[in-house]
Amino acid sequence: MKALEVSGLKKSFGGVQAVDGLAFSVEEYETLGIIGPNGAGKTTLFNLITGLYRPDAGEVLFFGRRLDHVPAHRLAHLGITRTFQNLRLFNGLTVSQNLTAPILGMHGYGLSSAVFRRRRYFKQERSAEEKAHVLLEFFQLADKGSLGANNLSYGEQRKLELARALSTNPRLLLIDEPGAGMNPREIRDLLATLRQVKEHFRLTIVLIEHQMGLVMNLSDRVLVMDFGEKIAEGTPAEVRKDRKVIEAYLGDELKTC
């Protein structure tokens, strides 16, 4: 079954054709890596899938369902979440609240339960906290739950961003450059974490990343973008050998992985 199917997708900003007739699909439980030079349109693709931008043309199907007219805030409910290339945590909240907010967005309680503190309020609050705790343990952040999110180190904030994206039990996870701004040691750590995520949560993943080591290691298939178009697609081994890819993008970076 196809988890995600994109066809003829286009988006321009003024004169810039950020995404230009893109088509691809992702099977359920597959991990698709997306690589491409800066400005290739990778983040724009995520923004189109998650409804932050409306496409100029083309369509996106999620398990066969069109997403065009689904409001952006419904997507997490349908089972699509993402991380952001530039961290976008809720910095005024605690680490734990960064997870309980999305969790309580999925399984809530009504206004009267909140105002009159009915039993349902306590029950749902407690179960959200427990669920957040389990996730924080998975990411080795359990002892930091009551800190402000902005008090975490950069690497920890990256982890929290990932934990938040998993908090709503998504079926499709879009990860935008999780390794951005990390040193080689942190990257190794991240690779291990992402491996665990893949093992532990049965998910379909689309992963944008510049770090070749990460993409080639984690992806079942890799899609290469340039100027908003797909220039190659295949298994990591195939993409490595593709002449167009080498010319457009990879160059000597390939030798390092």
Partner: protein, 321 residues
């Protein structure tokens, strides 16, 4: 029941404060004028708390809060005159309706303007505040008893210590319960990052509207209390400068803190009224030199307000159990 049992500490503090005040009021030690100021400080707290929900928690900058306060005051006064309200018992529904009127107008105004970005929102709410002032100034042309620029006179003085104090306590508790629920959490998410909030399933348009409507409701209740405390309304009590008063209380107290708003409301009313009483008549205008200096000093001492995004343990206004 857990509405009360989950706030034991706050209720205990409230009852003690009430008993002390009641004793003072009965002792004859406080003049009528001072008593009125004390009750007004509760109104200022309640109304500012509404603005804190809108601005401090949800990040929607509003410069028109006094407009909603005025709508509550005039609605309550008008309904009271129409239905000949003179007893405490018949006043309570009027109090609620004053809040509801402000909430409904807030909702209607909020639908178009809450889409606007911060700076535009400030202009739009400022415009709304001015519009309300102009309408109140000319209100007698449509409805005689509203009084227009002469003011609304002859409102019975019904608000006493019990009504003002326990209305405030009750609504502080309701607000606390909202803030420490998923709704309050969503409001704070929106303030921090609206786009991320959307991506994580929060209907931001709806949540902003809810915060705005509720905040305006609190202002409306504050206005209704005001009307039946002073028994006279004038459009100038509800103009732009009054909106600034509420904004100062929110900022001095701390964005996103109920306790902060309570402390700052008491402090602000004490300073303003204390100077009015303390300064000799010829030097009264000197207040407007002292007040800004006072504000600058507070903001230098606590740049984020007394208690930004924190609640004091003393008052027991945290999440509770």
């Amino acid at each position: 029941m857990s509405f009360f049992t989950s706030a034991k500490r706050f209720l205990l503090c409230s009852i003690i404060a009430y008993l002390i005040l009641k004793g003072l009021f009965l002792s004859g030690f406080l003049t009528e004028y001072i008593q009125q100021i004390i009750l007004f400080s509760f109104i200022a707290i309640l109304t500012s708390l509404g603005l804190n929900v809108i601005y401090g928690y949800t990040g929607q900058f509003s410069l028109g809060h006094a407009g909603f306060y005025g709508i509550g005051a005039y609605t309550a006064a008008y309904l009271g005159a129409v239905f000949k309200v003179e007893s405490i018992f018949s006043f309570l529904p009027i109090l609620f309706l004053g809040g509801a009127a402000a909430g409904i107008v807030g909702y209607a105004v909020g639908v178009p303007i809450l889409r606007l970005r911060d700076d535009f929102l400030a202009i739009a709410t400022l415009g709304f505040g001015i519009l309300v002032r102009v309408l109140l100034d000319n209100s007698d042309r449509a409805i005689e008893i509203l009084g227009g620029s002469r003011g609304f006179i002859g409102i019975p003085k019904i608000v006493n210590l019990e009504i003002a104090f326990f209305t405030m306590v009750f609504l502080i508790l309701v607000t606390r319960n909202l803030i420490f629920s998923r709704y309050g959490l969503f409001w704070q998410c929106i303030k921090d990052d609206e786009l991320a909030a959307t991506a994580f399933g929060i209907n931001t348009a709806r949540m902003k509207l809810m915060a705005f409507t509720y905040g305006c409701f609190l202002a409306g209740v504050g206005g209704a209390l005001y009307a039946y405390l002073y028994s006279f309304l004038h459009p100038s009590n509800f103009d732009f400068l009054r909106s600034i008063d509420f904004l100062i209380i929110v900022i001095v107290g701390g964005m996103g803190s109920i306790t902060g708003t309570i402390y700052a409301g008491l402090l602000w009313v004490t300073v303003i009224e204390g100077l009015r009483i303390g300064l000799p008549a010829q030097a009264l205008e000197f207040r407007w030199v002292l007040i800004p200096i006072f504000l600058i000093m507070v903001m230098m001492w606590k740049p984020f307000g007394l208690l930004a995004r924190r609640e004091s343990k003393f008052l027991g206004l945290g999440k509770g159990e």
